[in-house]
């Protein structure tokens, strides 16, 4: 029993890192553009496929193709912003969130259908020579690939933190996130900031997808499930705050894994849902967010 609990805990923490990575992109898009992109999971899915095909067709190791996947999804994100989300940012904040929700909902359907058409509905996983290797520490087995994925998540979080807090661009992003009118008056080209931020958000989704297709699996329909997890994490960390997202992700992963030991694996999704509803009801500002007056 102890072994089961420990193993579950570790697996939960590892997948929690992935939840955090996925949530980073979603939080960035929401925090900066005030746009809720529920198609974030579909971007993740596309990143997963990009990685998969890079490996299957050209033999590129998924860790090596990470920068390429980031760039590819970054560009796709910029493209989506230009043809779609740019128009949503015309609205004031309330309508912006509502309409982006509806519109990205439509995007979910479109991207999913396209994926089924071009990739088939089959589940894919990347298998390299080392993908079944694992460390064993005491009673616990830690798959190498998943651990590496966790590390990637940490690196991404640190990099994003550095970008936002130590660079001129990051300052402009934070200013835009706080008040885009004020930012424009300071000389910030808000539309450009939106575009780049959205691109980065998509890029982050892409590398998350990459790690997921490697350590877990990818298929056209995985998008919404991951978006849901990301949403829960964003709410847990505090809507609009970037700090603590990775920790919130790990918290969710851990809670889910431990609850699954009691309730059974088939009901894991319900755990995330319950956590979400509880936090939204009792502490809507999340663990790290600031309470609104």
């Amino acid at each position: 029993m102890t072994q089961l609990i420990l193993q579950s805990a570790v697996s939960g923490l590892l997948v929690g890192g992935m939840y955090g990575l996925v949530a980073l992109g979603l939080a960035l898009a929401f925090g900066v553009l005030k746009v809720l992109n529920v198609a974030h999971g579909e971007l993740l899915m596309l990143g997963g496929y990009a990685s998969f095909f890079a490996f299957t067709l050209w033999g590129i190791d998924p860790f090596l193709s990470l920068p390429l996947v980031f760039i590819a999804l970054f560009l796709f994100g910029v493209f989506l912003y230009q043809i779609l989300f740019r128009y949503v940012t015309r609205f004031e904040i309330d309508n912006r969130i509502k309409n982006s929700l509806l519109i990205s909902f439509g995007l979910v359907i479109v991207l999913q259908a396209l994926a089924v058409r071009f990739f088939t509905a089959d589940e894919r996983t990347i298998s390299t020579s080392y993908s079944s290797d694992a460390f064993t520490i005491g009673l616990v087995r830690i798959p190498v690939v998943r651990l590496a994925g966790f590390v990637v998540a940490v690196i991404a979080a640190v990099a994003l933190e550095w970008l936002l807090n130590r660079t001129r661009f990051g300052r402009a992003v934070r200013a835009t996130a706080e008040d885009w009118t004020r930012a424009a008056l300071t000389g910030v080209d808000v539309k450009w900031v939106y575009m780049i931020a959205f691109g980065i958000s998509a890029g982050l989704a892409g590398i998350a997808g990459s790690m997921i297709s490697f350590g877990y699996a990818v298929s056209p329909s995985i998008g919404l499930g991951w978006t849901l997890k990301a949403l829960v994490v964003v709410v847990l960390a505090g809507l609009g705050s970037m700090r603590g997202i990775l920790l919130a992700g790990m918290f969710l992963g851990l809670t889910e894994a431990l609850a699954a030991v009691w309730v059974g694996g088939a009901y894991r999704e319900v755990v995330a849902l319950v956590v979400f509803l509880i936090v939204m009801s009792f502490r809507p500002e999340g663990f790290f967010g600031r309470a609104r007056a």
Partner: protein
């Protein structure tokens, strides 16, 4: 248009549709018709919560799926269809009441996100606990005709439309629309927002379950989690937006348009039909707040007046629709 004319048209259409089921054997026509009825019913049920009460739910498929699940399992287990459907609708209504109380405390986007979360969680969980395909047993397959499902689904649609019409004219419905337009003001004048939202939620769920029952009755074989899929929610919402949010005819018009167009597309494009309608949905949300029905009304108004309405009025109407949307 005057109500006598309107009612005559409705009765004629209804008669036509009833007769259609009797005279034709063409499977394709019957299938399209059934799909139109089903989607119209589902969309109308969503419209009650989204259009009348103004609460945008992204998890509507949960109730459609539940209705289908309970009906299917009971009916294939030997219970009569009528009893199965009744139990399905009642149990779904109960579930919706239980879910509605915590969910409806959230407003606006938080409600939408909450319902989306419920929808995804339930879809995935049903997929986990009922992975095997659900098929009609062999003898039922041999005897399968479209007639039963055709009239059943039509009856479901009629019931849904009747409830919608009644609701729109009732005090309850008026209260819902007051809550939609301005929740604070409604509360201040004694219209309890939570009661009205919850009523809309439960009625909408019950009708969705009824539509789900028709799906269970009509479909030969499918994976049990399919009716829980977010695609159903999406199609219902698309159709309501295309046809006109908050109107009675809107969901029907939109649904007919959607299903018929989808079916008449050449087969190469047909695979990407969903893509097409996703794009259409997005455009409608961005550009045409009132959907086809408003577009049609504006066209009629423009034709009957000397010219188009003055800009200020148009903008005001558009802004009201905009605000009504969510």
């Amino acid at each position: 248009m005057p109500s006598v004319v309107r009612w005559t048209i409705v009765l004629l259409l209804l008669a036509g549709v009833v007769v259609l089921g009797l005279v034709t054997d063409d499977q394709r026509i019957l299938t399209i018709a059934i799909q139109v009825f089903m989607l119209s019913a589902l969309a109308s049920s969503w419209n009650i919560l989204g259009g009348f009460a103004g609460q945008i739910s992204l998890g509507h498929a949960v109730f459609f799926g539940l209705g289908a699940l309970v009906t299917r399992e009971m009916w294939l287990g030997g219970t009569s269809l009528v009893l199965s459907v009744t139990v399905a609708v009642v149990s779904t209504a109960l579930v919706s009441a239980i879910l509605g109380v915590p969910l409806l405390r959230f407003r606006g986007i938080y409600f939408a996100i909450g319902t989306l979360a419920v929808g995804v969680a339930v879809f995935l969980t049903i997929g986990n606990i009922r992975p095997g395909i659900s098929s009609l047993p062999v003898d039922a397959l041999r005897e399968y005709t479209f007639t039963g499902p055709y009239y059943f689904t039509l009856a479901v649609l009629v019931v849904t439309v009747v409830v919608s019409i009644w609701l729109k004219q009732s005090r309850l419905g008026l209260g819902m629309m007051a809550v939609r337009d301005d929740e604070e003001a409604a509360g201040a004048t004694g219209v309890g927002p939570l009661q009205h939202k919850l009523s809309a939620f439960v009625i909408s769920a019950a009708l969705a379950a009824l539509a789900g029952a028709s799906f269970a009755y009509f479909s030969v074989s499918y994976y049990p989690n399919f009716p829980f899929s977010v695609v159903w929610t999406f199609e219902a919402i698309t159709v309501v937006f295309i046809g006109g949010l908050g109107t009675i005819a809107g969901p029907l018009v939109g649904s007919a348009f959607f299903v018929i167009l989808r079916d008449t597309l050449p087969s190469g494009i047909q695979e990407l039909q969903v893509v097409l309608f996703g794009v259409l949905f997005i455009l409608v949300v961005l550009l045409l707040p009132g959907g086809l029905v408003e577009g049609g009304q504006r066209l009629l108004a423009a034709l009957s007046r000397k010219g188009p309405a003055p800009p200020a009025q148009q903008r005001e109407t558009a802004e009201k629709e905009e605000g009504k949307r969510l």
